[in-house]
């Protein structure tokens, strides 16, 4: 088998192993909730006085089937895995009989719309800034470094709160919350897009600034590390132009940053969830918050699974990308180091 194929196979196997481990973890933790979740929800519903005996029984049966609670625990896990693999995330407790799938489908595009551009823009700008700071040195480096450390240490939601207050409440320059104006409904028209974009800017910037900081700090130390390395000294000795050396350095310093990207995506999702809350943005974070306050376990479980899968897949893609562009990884797989 060619080294690259072997590498990809191993990464795919690893993706499956971590996926199963994550499923097991979510399965066990959700069942740690004191008492049987189905009893809890049925009690909650009957307390509200809504529904006749028959209705409650139908609801009860539905959840027993969904969770497979009448079966032994290992079969419950299989039912759970099967449902997830089929893309069936269950039925909401709090908004019965709404399916979790439809609730997620409404919220997910908003979260992706905020996070994906923020990650891409922040990563590119942050790396460029870090590299330039390392090459230029002097006051520029000092200022950029301190600024970046500060930016990355500001919690996402703290910057969000301050931006919201200054720009939306004080200056009234942008709307203070939500995803789009009251009275509009999400549709693929220019008018709706033009309206939604004004709600987009604040959460977007509050994420990007913090993310740029983290990436710049990382890139700066990588580039400084490369600047002191033997091949750079050798290239200088040969009289190779600075521009060309810069290219060499950039390529080498880029690799760990690529790996860092996968890790920071995981960190960012956590921060972005709360950022959405601050702006009342109709994404997964807001959905998670309402689900937590209503003890809506199927929704919590679904969101948590979604985050996990997103992070696992992001890690996988970065690994694959690394395998494609880094000859050392292929060499290690081929055994000829």
């Amino acid at each position: 088998m060619p080294p690259l194929a072997r590498y990809l196979l191993r990464r795919t196997l690893w993706l499956l192993v971590t996926f199963l481990a994550a499923m097991l973890l979510v399965f066990v933790l959700v069942r740690l909730v004191p008492g049987n979740p189905v009893d809890a929800i049925v009690a909650q519903m009957t307390r509200g006085g809504g529904g006749s005996g028959e209705q409650v029984e139908a609801i009860y049966d539905n959840y027993m089937r969904e969770f497979g609670l009448d079966q032994p625990i290992w079969q419950q896990f299989l039912v759970f895995v099967q449902n997830v693999l089929q893309g069936d995330l269950g039925t909401s407790f709090a908004q019965y009989p709404a399916s979790v799938n439809s609730m997620i489908a409404q919220a997910l595009p908003w979260s992706v719309a905020i996070q994906l551009p923020a990650i891409i823009v922040g990563w590119v700008v942050g790396n460029a800034l870090g590299a330039i700071a390392a090459f230029r040195g002097g006051w520029f480096d000092k200022g950029a470094f301190l600024g970046s450390i500060f930016a990355t240490s500001v919690p996402y939601y703290c910057l969000a709160i301050i931006l919201l207050f200054v720009v939306a409440v004080r200056m009234q320059a942008l709307p203070a919350g939500g995803g789009y104006s009251f009275g509009l409904s999400p549709e693929a028209t220019l008018a709706f897009f033009g309206d939604a974009i004004t709600y987009f800017w604040l959460p977007f910037w509050s994420l990007v600034v913090v993310f740029i900081g983290g990436q710049a700090v990382g890139m700066r130390s990588m580039a400084i590390y490369e600047l002191g390395s033997d091949y750079v000294n050798y290239a200088r000795g040969l009289g190779i132009s600075d521009n060309r050396i810069t290219r060499y350095i950039f390529r080498n310093a880029m690799l760990p940053q690529l790996t860092g990207l996968a890790l920071s995506i995981g960190a960012m999702i956590g921060g972005a969830l709360v950022t959405e809350l601050v702006f009342n943005y109709p994404g997964l974070g807001t959905l998670l918050f309402t689900a937590i306050s209503a003890n809506d376990y199927p929704v919590i479980q679904a969101i948590v699974l979604l985050i996990t899968i997103a992070v696992l897949v992001a890690n996988f893609l970065v690994d694959v990308l690394n395998g494609l562009i880094d000859p050392r990884i292929r060499a290690a797989q081929g055994g000829d180091r």
Partner: protein, 307 residues
């Protein structure tokens, strides 16, 4: 450590941290008002009538200043406890895996890698939901037992490189026991790394507590910086312009995070001479030795929960 090596950055960072700790320790004694005492109405403006009213009142008519000093105390305690738990777990697992090698290493390594792959925030949210009612200590334990993987991996890498050094052989030949070799011959090489990792763990834990609180999973029955932000957020203090309710916790949280990161980067400079400023230092070859963990280091970056 020679004084000449300490950069201004180090002094700024430690001064900030000492001040924050002083406020957390002495603050509740100076501001005699309790965090639960109702001393005014909804979002009373700051006034100079009494010390407790200097920062106005929050949504429940409680003193913001009293909440702030008590909350800072809770947040720092959660950070310290969670940071200590995570550092000890990561250090012990990493040391054993790296030094022992073989099957033990394989098992610990597999567990670490899986734990590293699953986002921390997910585990913390699930544990928080499962626990129903949470004391701040329980919260610290939750955060601590989920934050160790990156440290375990980093310590493992370093202790396995130390294993091959000669002085370990000497210690073995002289009949030193396994535990004593780990403690006296391996650990000292990692100490600077571990101290810096502890700083990062604390800051990560404090931020994780705030994130959890904002999601509605904060400590029940006690005030923390996170719960202050939660109430400020839920009651829309930003939208009604009640600056004094949301700005103090926001600033304090940023200060905690900034000062700890700054301390970490100052420590990095101290232990890792290549990063010191000046082009001359940069052009020197790679310094051999251990690299301290920073936000910069992708492996050493506390994943998940923070921020």
């Amino acid at each position: 450590m020679r004084g000449a090596n300490l950069s201004p950055r180090f002094w700024v960072a430690s001064t900030m941290i000492v001040l924050l700790v002083l406020v957390a320790v002495l603050g509740p004694l100076v501001v005699a008002t309790g965090p639960r005492e109702v001393i005014g109405g909804l979002y009373d403006r700051p006034s100079t009538e009494s010390l407790a009213l200097v920062l106005g009142t929050d949504n429940q008519g409680q003193s913001v200043l009293a909440n702030l000093v008590h909350g800072l105390r809770t947040s720092l305690l959660v950070g310290l406890l969670a940071g200590a738990i995570a550092t000890v777990i990561g250090l012990v697992l990493g040391l054993i895996a790296g030094f022992q090698g073989g099957l033990v290493d394989d098992i610990i390594n597999a567990v670490t890698n899986i734990a590293l792959a699953i986002p921390t925030i997910v585990v913390i949210i699930l544990l928080g939901v499962a626990l129903g009612s949470r004391s701040s200590v329980a919260l610290a334990v939750i955060i601590g037992v989920t934050a160790w993987p990156w440290l375990a991996r980093a310590v493992r890498a370093q202790s396995s490189s130390i294993r091959a050094r000669e002085h370990i052989e000497v210690a073995r030949l002289s009949g030193a026991r396994w535990v004593s070799i780990l403690g006296w011959d391996v650990l000292p090489y990692l100490l600077s790394y571990v101290v810096m990792a502890f700083v990062l763990q604390c800051s990560g834990a404090i931020l994780a507590e705030a994130t959890l609180s904002l999601l509605g999973l904060g400590p029940s029955g006690s005030t923390s910086i996170g719960t202050m932000l939660y109430w400020a957020q839920v009651w829309g203090s930003v939208r009604v312009g009640a600056l004094w309710a949301f700005l103090p916790p926001t600033i304090v949280l940023t200060l905690i995070s900034f000062s700890l990161l700054l301390l970490n980067s100052a420590g990095d400079e101290l232990f890792n001479p290549r990063l010191r400023k000046g082009r001359r230092a940069r052009r020197r070859g790679r310094a051999e030795g251990l690299v301290t963990p920073t936000v910069a280091d992708p492996v050493a970056r506390p994943g998940g929960a923070a921020r």
